[in-house]
Amino acid sequence: MFNFKLVRRYLGKHLVRSLLTVASLMVALFLLCLLQAIVVSLDAGVRGAKRDRLIVQSAVSLFVDLPLNYQQKIGAVDGVESICKWQYFGGHFQDDEKGYFAQFATDFDTLFACYPEIEVVEGSKEALLADRTACIVGKSLADRLGWKLGDSIPLEATFFAKPDGSAWDFKLAATYRPTSTAMDGGMMFFRWDYLEETVKATRGETPGTGTYVFRTRAGADQAPIAATVEALFENGPQRVSCSTEAAFQAQFVSMYGNLPFFVSAIGGGVLVAIVLACINTMLMAFREQLHDAGILKAVGFTDGSVATLMLAQSLVLCGIGGFAGIGLAKLTEPVMQLMLTRFGVPYEVPAETVALASALTISIGLVAGVVPAWRARQLRVVEALRSVE
Protein backbone atom coordinates (compact mmCIF):
# COMPACT_ATOMS: atom_id res chain seq x y z
CA MET A 1 0.00 0.00 0.00
CA PHE A 2 1.57 3.29 -1.06
CA ASN A 3 1.16 6.28 1.22
CA PHE A 4 2.00 9.55 -0.56
CA LYS A 5 1.23 11.56 2.56
CA LEU A 6 4.18 9.88 4.27
CA VAL A 7 6.44 10.74 1.34
CA ARG A 8 5.46 14.41 1.63
CA ARG A 9 5.84 14.47 5.39
CA TYR A 10 9.25 12.83 5.39
CA LEU A 11 10.53 15.21 2.72
CA GLY A 12 9.07 18.13 4.66
CA LYS A 13 10.59 16.95 7.96
CA HIS A 14 14.05 18.13 6.89
CA LEU A 15 12.85 20.94 4.69
CA VAL A 16 16.18 22.76 4.38
CA ARG A 17 17.97 19.56 3.36
CA SER A 18 15.24 18.70 0.87
CA LEU A 19 15.27 22.20 -0.61
CA LEU A 20 19.06 22.18 -0.91
CA THR A 21 18.95 18.82 -2.66
CA VAL A 22 16.21 20.06 -4.99
CA ALA A 23 18.19 23.25 -5.69
CA SER A 24 21.40 21.36 -6.44
CA LEU A 25 19.54 19.03 -8.78
CA MET A 26 17.85 21.98 -10.44
CA VAL A 27 21.19 23.70 -11.07
CA ALA A 28 22.80 20.46 -12.26
CA LEU A 29 20.02 19.60 -14.71
CA PHE A 30 19.87 23.20 -15.91
CA LEU A 31 23.62 23.11 -16.59
CA LEU A 32 23.31 19.73 -18.25
CA CYS A 33 20.57 20.98 -20.57
CA LEU A 34 22.54 24.14 -21.30
CA LEU A 35 25.76 22.30 -22.12
CA GLN A 36 23.99 19.61 -24.10
CA ALA A 37 22.06 22.26 -26.02
CA ILE A 38 25.33 24.01 -26.90
CA VAL A 39 26.85 20.73 -28.11
CA VAL A 40 23.72 20.00 -30.15
CA SER A 41 23.61 23.57 -31.46
CA LEU A 42 27.23 23.43 -32.62
CA ASP A 43 26.28 20.44 -34.68
CA ALA A 44 22.89 21.75 -35.79
CA GLY A 45 24.10 22.85 -39.20
CA VAL A 46 25.50 19.41 -39.96
CA ARG A 47 22.40 17.57 -38.73
CA GLY A 48 20.02 19.92 -40.51
CA ALA A 49 21.96 20.00 -43.78
CA LYS A 50 19.89 19.37 -46.90
CA ARG A 51 20.85 16.35 -48.93
CA ASP A 52 20.04 18.02 -52.22
CA ARG A 53 22.40 20.96 -51.71
CA LEU A 54 26.08 20.99 -52.68
CA ILE A 55 28.68 23.64 -51.93
CA VAL A 56 31.51 24.65 -54.25
CA GLN A 57 34.55 26.40 -52.83
CA SER A 58 38.16 26.89 -53.84
CA ALA A 59 40.18 23.70 -53.47
CA VAL A 60 42.89 25.80 -51.87
CA SER A 61 40.94 27.53 -49.12
CA LEU A 62 37.58 28.98 -48.29
CA PHE A 63 39.29 32.38 -48.27
CA VAL A 64 40.25 32.17 -51.94
CA ASP A 65 37.57 33.65 -54.20
CA LEU A 66 36.16 31.90 -57.25
CA PRO A 67 35.65 33.61 -60.61
CA LEU A 68 32.10 34.80 -61.37
CA ASN A 69 31.88 32.92 -64.67
CA TYR A 70 31.97 29.61 -62.77
CA GLN A 71 28.30 30.14 -61.86
CA GLN A 72 27.11 29.69 -65.44
CA LYS A 73 29.34 26.66 -66.03
CA ILE A 74 28.24 24.91 -62.84
CA GLY A 75 24.61 25.76 -63.57
CA ALA A 76 24.93 24.02 -66.95
CA VAL A 77 25.97 20.67 -65.39
CA ASP A 78 23.31 18.02 -65.80
CA GLY A 79 21.37 17.59 -62.56
CA VAL A 80 21.95 21.12 -61.22
CA GLU A 81 18.63 22.86 -60.68
CA SER A 82 19.47 26.27 -59.22
CA ILE A 83 22.68 27.93 -58.11
CA CYS A 84 23.51 30.98 -56.01
CA LYS A 85 26.67 32.65 -54.82
CA TRP A 86 27.68 33.65 -51.32
CA GLN A 87 30.35 36.26 -50.69
CA TYR A 88 31.35 36.88 -47.10
CA PHE A 89 31.39 40.62 -46.43
CA GLY A 90 32.98 40.68 -42.97
CA GLY A 91 31.59 44.08 -41.91
CA HIS A 92 31.23 45.47 -38.39
CA PHE A 93 28.16 47.15 -37.04
CA GLN A 94 28.70 50.41 -35.15
CA ASP A 95 28.46 48.73 -31.78
CA ASP A 96 30.27 45.41 -31.75
CA GLU A 97 29.44 45.03 -28.07
CA LYS A 98 25.92 44.17 -29.15
CA GLY A 99 27.31 41.29 -31.05
CA TYR A 100 28.87 40.17 -34.25
CA PHE A 101 26.79 38.86 -37.13
CA ALA A 102 27.73 37.50 -40.53
CA GLN A 103 26.83 39.32 -43.76
CA PHE A 104 26.80 37.87 -47.25
CA ALA A 105 26.37 39.33 -50.73
CA THR A 106 24.09 37.20 -52.90
CA ASP A 107 21.46 37.25 -55.61
CA PHE A 108 18.09 37.13 -53.90
CA ASP A 109 16.18 35.33 -56.63
CA THR A 110 18.65 32.42 -56.69
CA LEU A 111 19.14 32.50 -52.89
CA PHE A 112 15.44 31.91 -52.27
CA ALA A 113 15.42 29.15 -54.91
CA CYS A 114 18.32 27.37 -53.22
CA TYR A 115 17.09 27.96 -49.67
CA PRO A 116 13.33 27.39 -49.49
CA GLU A 117 13.70 27.30 -45.68
CA ILE A 118 14.22 31.08 -45.63
CA GLU A 119 10.79 32.34 -44.64
CA VAL A 120 10.26 36.07 -45.07
CA VAL A 121 8.36 37.25 -41.99
CA GLU A 122 8.49 41.04 -42.44
CA GLY A 123 8.79 43.01 -45.66
CA SER A 124 8.82 41.22 -49.00
CA LYS A 125 11.02 39.72 -51.69
CA GLU A 126 9.85 42.48 -54.02
CA ALA A 127 11.15 45.11 -51.60
CA LEU A 128 14.55 43.42 -51.70
CA LEU A 129 14.67 43.71 -55.49
CA ALA A 130 13.41 47.27 -55.57
CA ASP A 131 16.32 48.91 -53.75
CA ARG A 132 20.00 48.28 -54.55
CA THR A 133 21.03 48.70 -50.88
CA ALA A 134 18.21 46.50 -49.61
CA CYS A 135 19.06 43.74 -47.18
CA ILE A 136 17.30 41.00 -45.31
CA VAL A 137 18.31 39.99 -41.76
CA GLY A 138 17.26 37.26 -39.37
CA LYS A 139 14.26 38.26 -37.26
CA SER A 140 16.13 37.37 -34.08
CA LEU A 141 19.02 39.61 -35.13
CA ALA A 142 16.69 42.51 -35.92
CA ASP A 143 14.97 42.09 -32.57
CA ARG A 144 18.27 41.94 -30.72
CA LEU A 145 19.59 45.12 -32.33
CA GLY A 146 16.23 46.89 -32.34
CA TRP A 147 16.05 47.29 -36.12
CA LYS A 148 12.81 48.01 -37.93
CA LEU A 149 11.93 47.84 -41.62
CA GLY A 150 13.26 50.91 -43.43
CA ASP A 151 16.11 51.43 -40.96
CA SER A 152 19.50 52.32 -42.33
CA ILE A 153 22.26 49.91 -41.29
CA PRO A 154 25.80 51.24 -41.60
CA LEU A 155 28.58 48.67 -41.70
CA GLU A 156 32.30 49.26 -41.56
CA ALA A 157 33.88 46.99 -44.14
CA THR A 158 37.09 45.03 -43.67
CA PHE A 159 37.70 43.05 -46.89
CA PHE A 160 35.76 45.55 -48.98
CA ALA A 161 36.75 48.78 -47.27
CA LYS A 162 36.15 51.96 -49.27
CA PRO A 163 39.23 54.07 -50.00
CA ASP A 164 37.81 56.98 -48.02
CA GLY A 165 37.04 54.71 -45.06
CA SER A 166 33.34 55.51 -45.12
CA ALA A 167 30.75 52.96 -44.03
CA TRP A 168 28.58 50.90 -46.34
CA ASP A 169 24.91 51.75 -46.03
CA PHE A 170 22.20 49.13 -46.17
CA LYS A 171 18.46 49.52 -45.91
CA LEU A 172 16.48 46.92 -43.99
CA ALA A 173 13.81 45.72 -46.42
CA ALA A 174 12.84 42.36 -44.91
CA THR A 175 13.44 39.93 -42.08
CA TYR A 176 13.48 36.14 -42.23
CA ARG A 177 13.05 33.17 -39.98
CA PRO A 178 14.66 29.85 -40.92
CA THR A 179 12.37 26.83 -40.91
CA SER A 180 15.35 24.47 -40.65
CA THR A 181 18.50 24.33 -38.52
CA ALA A 182 20.53 24.24 -41.74
CA MET A 183 20.09 27.99 -41.95
CA ASP A 184 21.39 30.36 -39.28
CA GLY A 185 18.66 32.76 -38.18
CA GLY A 186 21.07 35.56 -37.29
CA MET A 187 22.64 36.55 -40.62
CA MET A 188 22.31 39.37 -43.11
CA PHE A 189 22.05 39.08 -46.91
CA PHE A 190 22.35 41.95 -49.35
CA ARG A 191 22.38 42.33 -53.09
CA TRP A 192 25.37 41.12 -55.10
CA ASP A 193 25.08 43.97 -57.60
CA TYR A 194 25.46 46.49 -54.75
CA LEU A 195 28.73 44.86 -53.75
CA GLU A 196 29.97 44.44 -57.30
CA GLU A 197 29.19 47.96 -58.47
CA THR A 198 30.54 49.62 -55.34
CA VAL A 199 33.77 47.66 -55.40
CA LYS A 200 34.21 48.38 -59.11
CA ALA A 201 33.54 52.07 -58.57
CA THR A 202 35.75 52.55 -55.55
CA ARG A 203 38.53 50.06 -56.13
CA GLY A 204 38.35 49.45 -59.85
CA GLU A 205 38.21 45.66 -59.51
CA THR A 206 35.55 42.98 -59.85
CA PRO A 207 34.98 40.93 -56.70
CA GLY A 208 34.92 37.15 -56.84
CA THR A 209 32.73 34.96 -54.73
CA GLY A 210 33.59 32.72 -51.81
CA THR A 211 31.23 29.88 -52.54
CA TYR A 212 28.58 28.66 -54.91
CA VAL A 213 25.64 26.75 -53.53
CA PHE A 214 23.47 24.69 -55.82
CA ARG A 215 20.48 22.40 -55.53
CA THR A 216 20.25 19.21 -57.50
CA ARG A 217 17.25 17.81 -59.22
CA ALA A 218 15.05 15.55 -57.08
CA GLY A 219 16.41 12.02 -57.02
CA ALA A 220 19.69 13.00 -58.68
CA ASP A 221 22.85 11.18 -57.61
CA GLN A 222 25.09 13.69 -55.78
CA ALA A 223 28.47 12.02 -56.20
CA PRO A 224 28.77 12.12 -60.02
CA ILE A 225 27.48 15.69 -60.09
CA ALA A 226 30.11 16.76 -57.53
CA ALA A 227 32.78 14.90 -59.51
CA THR A 228 31.66 16.58 -62.76
CA VAL A 229 31.81 20.04 -61.14
CA GLU A 230 35.30 19.41 -59.77
CA ALA A 231 36.45 18.06 -63.16
CA LEU A 232 35.17 21.18 -64.92
CA PHE A 233 37.83 23.32 -63.30
CA GLU A 234 40.58 20.74 -63.02
CA ASN A 235 42.85 22.88 -65.18
CA GLY A 236 42.08 26.22 -63.58
CA PRO A 237 42.08 29.04 -63.33
CA GLN A 238 40.88 28.05 -59.84
CA ARG A 239 40.44 24.40 -58.87
CA VAL A 240 37.34 23.75 -56.81
CA SER A 241 36.13 21.38 -54.16
CA CYS A 242 32.49 20.33 -54.26
CA SER A 243 31.02 18.83 -51.10
CA THR A 244 27.67 18.11 -49.56
CA GLU A 245 26.21 20.74 -47.28
CA ALA A 246 26.75 18.43 -44.28
CA ALA A 247 30.45 18.02 -45.10
CA PHE A 248 30.78 21.76 -45.66
CA GLN A 249 29.18 22.51 -42.25
CA ALA A 250 31.31 19.83 -40.58
CA GLN A 251 34.50 21.74 -41.38
CA PHE A 252 33.21 24.61 -39.23
CA VAL A 253 32.31 22.25 -36.38
CA SER A 254 35.81 20.73 -36.58
CA MET A 255 37.21 24.22 -35.93
CA TYR A 256 35.88 23.92 -32.37
CA GLY A 257 38.25 20.98 -31.90
CA ASN A 258 37.29 18.86 -28.90
CA LEU A 259 34.93 21.46 -27.49
CA PRO A 260 31.85 19.20 -27.74
CA PHE A 261 33.71 16.43 -25.87
CA PHE A 262 35.01 18.92 -23.30
CA VAL A 263 31.54 20.36 -22.73
CA SER A 264 30.02 16.87 -22.50
CA ALA A 265 32.71 15.84 -20.01
CA ILE A 266 31.84 18.82 -17.78
CA GLY A 267 28.17 17.83 -17.96
CA GLY A 268 29.06 14.24 -17.08
CA GLY A 269 31.15 15.40 -14.11
CA VAL A 270 28.30 17.53 -12.81
CA LEU A 271 25.98 14.56 -13.17
CA VAL A 272 28.23 12.16 -11.26
CA ALA A 273 28.65 14.71 -8.44
CA ILE A 274 24.92 15.21 -8.12
CA VAL A 275 24.21 11.47 -8.15
CA LEU A 276 26.64 11.01 -5.25
CA ALA A 277 25.02 13.91 -3.37
CA CYS A 278 21.56 12.43 -3.87
CA ILE A 279 22.69 8.97 -2.75
CA ASN A 280 24.11 10.54 0.39
CA THR A 281 20.86 12.42 1.07
CA MET A 282 18.78 9.29 0.67
CA LEU A 283 21.09 7.19 2.85
CA MET A 284 20.76 9.84 5.57
CA ALA A 285 16.98 9.72 5.16
CA PHE A 286 17.08 5.93 5.42
CA ARG A 287 19.06 6.02 8.67
CA GLU A 288 16.61 8.55 10.12
CA GLN A 289 13.60 6.50 9.07
CA LEU A 290 14.96 3.12 10.11
CA HIS A 291 12.84 3.01 13.29
CA ASP A 292 9.74 4.24 11.46
CA ALA A 293 10.25 1.56 8.82
CA GLY A 294 10.09 -1.00 11.63
CA ILE A 295 6.86 0.55 12.92
CA LEU A 296 5.32 0.46 9.46
CA LYS A 297 6.23 -3.19 9.04
CA ALA A 298 4.90 -3.98 12.52
CA VAL A 299 1.48 -2.51 11.73
CA GLY A 300 1.26 -4.53 8.54
CA PHE A 301 3.08 -2.74 5.73
CA THR A 302 4.87 -5.24 3.51
CA ASP A 303 8.59 -5.17 2.76
CA GLY A 304 7.76 -4.00 -0.74
CA SER A 305 5.60 -1.09 0.35
CA VAL A 306 8.24 0.14 2.82
CA ALA A 307 10.87 -0.10 0.06
CA THR A 308 8.54 1.78 -2.30
CA LEU A 309 8.20 4.53 0.30
CA MET A 310 11.98 5.06 0.28
CA LEU A 311 12.19 4.90 -3.51
CA ALA A 312 9.28 7.30 -3.90
CA GLN A 313 10.98 9.88 -1.67
CA SER A 314 14.05 9.72 -3.88
CA LEU A 315 12.02 9.95 -7.08
CA VAL A 316 9.93 12.86 -5.83
CA LEU A 317 12.97 14.76 -4.54
CA CYS A 318 14.98 14.20 -7.72
CA GLY A 319 11.91 14.70 -9.92
CA ILE A 320 11.12 18.12 -8.47
CA GLY A 321 14.74 19.27 -8.74
CA GLY A 322 15.43 17.74 -12.12
CA PHE A 323 12.26 18.87 -13.85
CA ALA A 324 12.63 22.34 -12.33
CA GLY A 325 16.10 22.48 -13.90
CA ILE A 326 14.78 21.35 -17.27
CA GLY A 327 11.95 23.89 -17.02
CA LEU A 328 14.46 26.60 -16.18
CA ALA A 329 16.54 25.65 -19.21
CA LYS A 330 13.47 25.96 -21.45
CA LEU A 331 12.38 29.20 -19.78
CA THR A 332 15.77 30.84 -20.27
CA GLU A 333 15.99 29.71 -23.89
CA PRO A 334 15.18 33.19 -25.35
CA VAL A 335 17.79 34.83 -23.12
CA MET A 336 20.41 32.24 -24.03
CA GLN A 337 19.51 32.59 -27.71
CA LEU A 338 20.18 36.31 -27.49
CA MET A 339 23.49 35.74 -25.73
CA LEU A 340 24.76 33.02 -28.06
CA THR A 341 23.49 34.25 -31.41
CA ARG A 342 26.30 36.80 -31.47
CA PHE A 343 28.75 33.89 -31.56
CA GLY A 344 26.88 32.36 -34.46
CA VAL A 345 25.54 29.50 -32.31
CA PRO A 346 21.81 28.91 -32.88
CA TYR A 347 20.96 27.99 -29.26
CA GLU A 348 17.94 25.82 -28.64
CA VAL A 349 17.12 23.18 -26.02
CA PRO A 350 15.85 20.50 -28.40
CA ALA A 351 13.25 17.87 -27.55
CA GLU A 352 15.89 15.14 -27.47
CA THR A 353 17.85 17.08 -24.82
CA VAL A 354 14.67 17.49 -22.76
CA ALA A 355 13.99 13.76 -23.15
CA LEU A 356 17.58 12.88 -22.20
CA ALA A 357 17.49 15.18 -19.16
CA SER A 358 14.10 13.75 -18.11
CA ALA A 359 15.44 10.21 -18.38
CA LEU A 360 18.53 11.22 -16.38
CA THR A 361 16.34 12.84 -13.71
CA ILE A 362 14.35 9.64 -13.26
CA SER A 363 17.56 7.58 -13.36
CA ILE A 364 19.17 9.73 -10.64
CA GLY A 365 16.04 9.25 -8.52
CA LEU A 366 16.17 5.49 -9.04
CA VAL A 367 19.92 5.20 -8.44
CA ALA A 368 19.77 7.36 -5.29
CA GLY A 369 16.76 5.50 -3.94
CA VAL A 370 17.54 1.92 -4.83
CA VAL A 371 20.07 1.22 -2.05
CA PRO A 372 17.94 2.68 0.80
CA ALA A 373 14.89 0.97 -0.68
CA TRP A 374 16.67 -2.37 -0.83
CA ARG A 375 17.93 -1.98 2.73
CA ALA A 376 14.44 -1.00 3.91
CA ARG A 377 13.08 -4.09 2.23
CA GLN A 378 15.61 -6.36 3.92
CA LEU A 379 15.13 -4.75 7.31
CA ARG A 380 14.05 -7.09 10.14
CA VAL A 381 11.24 -5.57 12.17
CA VAL A 382 12.67 -6.34 15.61
CA GLU A 383 16.06 -4.86 14.70
CA ALA A 384 14.46 -1.75 13.21
CA LEU A 385 12.33 -1.22 16.32
CA ARG A 386 15.43 -1.46 18.50
CA SER A 387 17.17 1.28 16.50
CA VAL A 388 17.10 4.87 17.74
CA GLU A 389 16.92 7.82 15.35
Partner: protein, 238 residues
Amino acid sequence: MSQPMIRARKLTKSYLRGGETLTVLDGLDLDMDEGRFYALMGPSGSGKTTLLNLIGGLDQADEGDLVVAGADLAALDSSALARWRAANVGFVFQGFNLIPVLTAQENVELPLSLSPLSRKERREHARYALKLVGLDGREDHRPGQLSGGQEQRVAIARAIASDPKVLLADEPTGDLDRKSADQVLELLLRLNVEFKKTILMVTHDPHAAAYAGFTVHLDKGQLGCIETNPPRAVAARV
Protein backbone atom coordinates in the same frame (compact mmCIF):
# COMPACT_ATOMS: atom_id res chain seq x y z
CA MET B 1 -13.64 -27.19 23.34
CA SER B 2 -12.66 -24.44 20.87
CA GLN B 3 -9.12 -23.86 19.65
CA PRO B 4 -7.04 -21.55 21.84
CA MET B 5 -6.32 -18.12 20.35
CA ILE B 6 -2.59 -18.71 20.79
CA ARG B 7 -1.08 -22.19 20.70
CA ALA B 8 2.67 -22.76 20.99
CA ARG B 9 4.34 -26.16 20.91
CA LYS B 10 8.05 -26.79 21.48
CA LEU B 11 8.77 -23.21 20.52
CA THR B 12 12.49 -22.55 20.29
CA LYS B 13 14.35 -19.37 19.48
CA SER B 14 18.09 -18.75 19.70
CA TYR B 15 20.32 -15.78 18.93
CA LEU B 16 23.99 -15.55 18.15
CA ARG B 17 25.67 -13.24 20.65
CA GLY B 18 29.41 -12.71 20.44
CA GLY B 19 29.90 -15.99 18.61
CA GLU B 20 27.84 -17.94 21.16
CA THR B 21 24.37 -19.33 20.69
CA LEU B 22 21.96 -17.96 23.27
CA THR B 23 18.76 -19.94 23.58
CA VAL B 24 16.01 -17.54 24.60
CA LEU B 25 12.98 -19.81 24.20
CA ASP B 26 13.62 -23.46 24.85
CA GLY B 27 10.81 -25.77 23.70
CA LEU B 28 8.01 -23.63 25.13
CA ASP B 29 4.46 -25.04 25.22
CA LEU B 30 1.67 -22.55 25.83
CA ASP B 31 -2.08 -22.15 25.21
CA MET B 32 -3.93 -18.85 25.55
CA ASP B 33 -7.68 -18.67 25.21
CA GLU B 34 -9.67 -16.16 23.22
CA GLY B 35 -10.99 -13.09 25.03
CA ARG B 36 -8.63 -13.30 27.99
CA PHE B 37 -6.15 -10.84 29.38
CA TYR B 38 -2.72 -12.31 30.13
CA ALA B 39 0.21 -10.68 31.86
CA LEU B 40 3.57 -12.15 30.90
CA MET B 41 6.14 -11.86 33.64
CA GLY B 42 9.60 -13.15 34.31
CA PRO B 43 13.14 -11.99 35.00
CA SER B 44 15.17 -10.15 32.35
CA GLY B 45 16.31 -12.53 29.62
CA SER B 46 13.54 -15.02 30.31
CA GLY B 47 12.21 -14.59 26.75
CA LYS B 48 9.09 -12.45 27.34
CA THR B 49 9.65 -9.95 24.52
CA THR B 50 10.94 -12.66 22.19
CA LEU B 51 7.75 -14.67 22.78
CA LEU B 52 5.65 -11.54 22.16
CA ASN B 53 7.52 -10.86 18.90
CA LEU B 54 6.99 -14.43 17.73
CA ILE B 55 3.27 -14.35 18.57
CA GLY B 56 2.96 -11.00 16.74
CA GLY B 57 4.73 -12.33 13.66
CA LEU B 58 7.55 -9.79 14.00
CA ASP B 59 10.11 -12.58 14.20
CA GLN B 60 10.10 -16.27 13.36
CA ALA B 61 10.85 -19.25 15.60
CA ASP B 62 13.75 -21.57 14.87
CA GLU B 63 11.70 -24.64 15.75
CA GLY B 64 8.27 -25.55 16.99
CA ASP B 65 4.70 -24.74 16.02
CA LEU B 66 2.93 -21.49 16.64
CA VAL B 67 -0.69 -20.97 15.70
CA VAL B 68 -2.20 -17.55 16.38
CA ALA B 69 -5.79 -16.59 15.49
CA GLY B 70 -6.01 -19.74 13.40
CA ALA B 71 -2.86 -19.08 11.33
CA ASP B 72 0.24 -21.25 11.35
CA LEU B 73 2.83 -18.46 11.39
CA ALA B 74 5.71 -20.67 10.23
CA ALA B 75 3.85 -21.30 6.95
CA LEU B 76 3.51 -17.62 6.06
CA ASP B 77 6.07 -15.77 3.95
CA SER B 78 7.09 -12.19 4.69
CA SER B 79 4.28 -10.53 2.70
CA ALA B 80 1.60 -12.90 3.96
CA LEU B 81 2.83 -12.36 7.51
CA ALA B 82 2.59 -8.58 7.05
CA ARG B 83 -0.99 -8.90 5.80
CA TRP B 84 -1.81 -11.25 8.66
CA ARG B 85 -0.40 -8.74 11.19
CA ALA B 86 -2.46 -5.94 9.69
CA ALA B 87 -5.67 -7.96 10.07
CA ASN B 88 -5.15 -9.85 13.31
CA VAL B 89 -2.71 -8.16 15.67
CA GLY B 90 -2.42 -4.76 17.35
CA PHE B 91 0.85 -3.73 18.99
CA VAL B 92 1.40 -1.43 21.95
CA PHE B 93 5.08 -0.78 22.64
CA GLN B 94 6.86 0.63 25.65
CA GLY B 95 8.28 3.51 23.59
CA PHE B 96 4.86 4.23 21.96
CA ASN B 97 6.36 3.93 18.45
CA LEU B 98 4.21 6.50 16.74
CA ILE B 99 5.28 7.96 13.40
CA PRO B 100 6.49 11.44 14.39
CA VAL B 101 5.64 13.13 11.07
CA LEU B 102 1.97 12.10 11.28
CA THR B 103 -0.79 13.50 13.48
CA ALA B 104 -2.61 11.36 16.06
CA GLN B 105 -5.47 10.85 13.59
CA GLU B 106 -3.08 9.88 10.77
CA ASN B 107 -1.16 7.48 13.02
CA VAL B 108 -4.38 5.71 13.90
CA GLU B 109 -5.42 5.64 10.23
CA LEU B 110 -2.11 4.07 9.22
CA PRO B 111 -3.07 0.38 9.65
CA LEU B 112 -6.50 1.17 8.24
CA SER B 113 -4.88 2.28 4.98
CA LEU B 114 -4.07 -1.39 4.46
CA SER B 115 -7.75 -2.32 4.69
CA PRO B 116 -10.35 -2.00 1.93
CA LEU B 117 -12.08 0.84 3.82
CA SER B 118 -12.77 4.10 2.01
CA ARG B 119 -11.00 7.28 3.10
CA LYS B 120 -14.17 8.49 4.84
CA GLU B 121 -14.61 5.18 6.66
CA ARG B 122 -10.97 5.20 7.72
CA ARG B 123 -11.38 8.68 9.13
CA GLU B 124 -14.51 7.67 11.03
CA HIS B 125 -12.90 4.51 12.43
CA ALA B 126 -9.84 6.47 13.56
CA ARG B 127 -12.02 9.16 15.20
CA TYR B 128 -13.97 6.48 17.02
CA ALA B 129 -10.79 4.77 18.24
CA LEU B 130 -9.37 8.07 19.48
CA LYS B 131 -12.65 8.84 21.23
CA LEU B 132 -12.56 5.41 22.86
CA VAL B 133 -9.15 6.16 24.38
CA GLY B 134 -10.32 9.61 25.50
CA LEU B 135 -8.38 11.65 22.97
CA ASP B 136 -11.14 13.25 20.93
CA GLY B 137 -10.08 16.80 20.23
CA ARG B 138 -6.41 15.79 19.90
CA GLU B 139 -6.71 14.39 16.39
CA ASP B 140 -4.46 16.98 14.78
CA HIS B 141 -1.71 16.85 17.39
CA ARG B 142 1.63 15.38 16.40
CA PRO B 143 3.24 12.88 18.84
CA GLY B 144 5.71 15.56 19.95
CA GLN B 145 2.79 17.72 21.09
CA LEU B 146 1.31 15.00 23.35
CA SER B 147 2.27 13.76 26.82
CA GLY B 148 3.65 10.24 27.26
CA GLY B 149 0.32 8.93 28.50
CA GLN B 150 -1.51 10.51 25.59
CA GLU B 151 1.02 9.09 23.12
CA GLN B 152 0.47 5.62 24.55
CA ARG B 153 -3.28 6.04 24.26
CA VAL B 154 -2.84 7.03 20.60
CA ALA B 155 -0.76 3.86 20.18
CA ILE B 156 -3.61 1.84 21.75
CA ALA B 157 -6.10 3.55 19.42
CA ARG B 158 -3.88 2.59 16.48
CA ALA B 159 -3.65 -0.98 17.78
CA ILE B 160 -7.43 -1.39 18.00
CA ALA B 161 -8.42 0.70 14.94
CA SER B 162 -8.48 -2.27 12.60
CA ASP B 163 -10.37 -4.38 15.20
CA PRO B 164 -7.69 -7.09 15.60
CA LYS B 165 -8.31 -10.28 17.51
CA VAL B 166 -5.11 -10.04 19.55
CA LEU B 167 -3.52 -7.09 21.33
CA LEU B 168 0.15 -7.43 22.20
CA ALA B 169 1.58 -4.95 24.68
CA ASP B 170 5.28 -4.82 25.51
CA GLU B 171 5.74 -3.00 28.82
CA PRO B 172 3.08 -0.46 27.86
CA THR B 173 3.41 1.44 31.13
CA GLY B 174 7.19 1.24 31.41
CA ASP B 175 7.76 4.87 30.38
CA LEU B 176 4.72 6.34 32.16
CA ASP B 177 4.03 7.86 35.56
CA ARG B 178 1.67 5.97 37.84
CA LYS B 179 -1.43 7.99 36.96
CA SER B 180 -0.90 7.67 33.20
CA ALA B 181 0.01 4.01 33.66
CA ASP B 182 -3.26 3.32 35.46
CA GLN B 183 -5.21 5.07 32.70
CA VAL B 184 -3.53 2.89 30.08
CA LEU B 185 -4.06 -0.30 32.09
CA GLU B 186 -7.73 0.50 32.68
CA LEU B 187 -8.09 1.11 28.98
CA LEU B 188 -6.58 -2.30 28.19
CA LEU B 189 -8.83 -3.92 30.76
CA ARG B 190 -11.85 -2.23 29.22
CA LEU B 191 -10.87 -3.46 25.76
CA ASN B 192 -10.70 -6.98 27.19
CA VAL B 193 -13.94 -6.85 29.14
CA GLU B 194 -16.11 -4.81 26.76
CA PHE B 195 -14.67 -5.74 23.38
CA LYS B 196 -13.47 -9.28 24.27
CA LYS B 197 -9.96 -8.65 22.92
CA THR B 198 -7.34 -11.26 23.70
CA ILE B 199 -4.54 -9.31 25.34
CA LEU B 200 -1.00 -10.40 26.12
CA MET B 201 0.95 -7.85 28.10
CA VAL B 202 4.63 -8.12 28.99
CA THR B 203 5.38 -6.40 32.29
CA HIS B 204 7.79 -6.36 35.20
CA ASP B 205 5.29 -4.55 37.36
CA PRO B 206 3.07 -6.73 39.64
CA HIS B 207 0.66 -3.78 39.94
CA ALA B 208 0.20 -3.79 36.15
CA ALA B 209 -0.02 -7.59 36.06
CA ALA B 210 -2.88 -7.45 38.58
CA TYR B 211 -5.08 -5.89 35.89
CA ALA B 212 -4.86 -9.10 33.87
CA GLY B 213 -6.99 -12.15 34.50
CA PHE B 214 -3.97 -14.46 34.29
CA THR B 215 -0.27 -14.09 34.91
CA VAL B 216 2.03 -16.27 32.82
CA HIS B 217 5.48 -16.74 34.37
CA LEU B 218 8.43 -17.44 32.11
CA ASP B 219 11.77 -18.62 33.34
CA LYS B 220 14.85 -19.34 31.23
CA GLY B 221 12.81 -19.68 28.10
CA GLN B 222 10.32 -22.12 29.51
CA LEU B 223 6.87 -21.83 30.97
CA GLY B 224 6.97 -21.52 34.75
CA CYS B 225 3.32 -21.41 35.71
CA ILE B 226 0.06 -19.66 34.89
CA GLU B 227 -1.59 -17.93 37.81
CA THR B 228 -5.21 -16.93 37.87
CA ASN B 229 -5.51 -13.46 39.35
CA PRO B 230 -8.17 -12.91 42.03
CA PRO B 231 -11.43 -12.28 40.22
CA ARG B 232 -12.42 -9.75 42.83
CA ALA B 233 -9.52 -7.52 41.88
CA VAL B 234 -10.41 -7.62 38.22
CA ALA B 235 -14.12 -7.10 38.83
CA ALA B 236 -13.48 -4.21 41.16
CA ARG B 237 -11.40 -2.42 38.56
CA VAL B 238 -13.96 -2.86 35.84
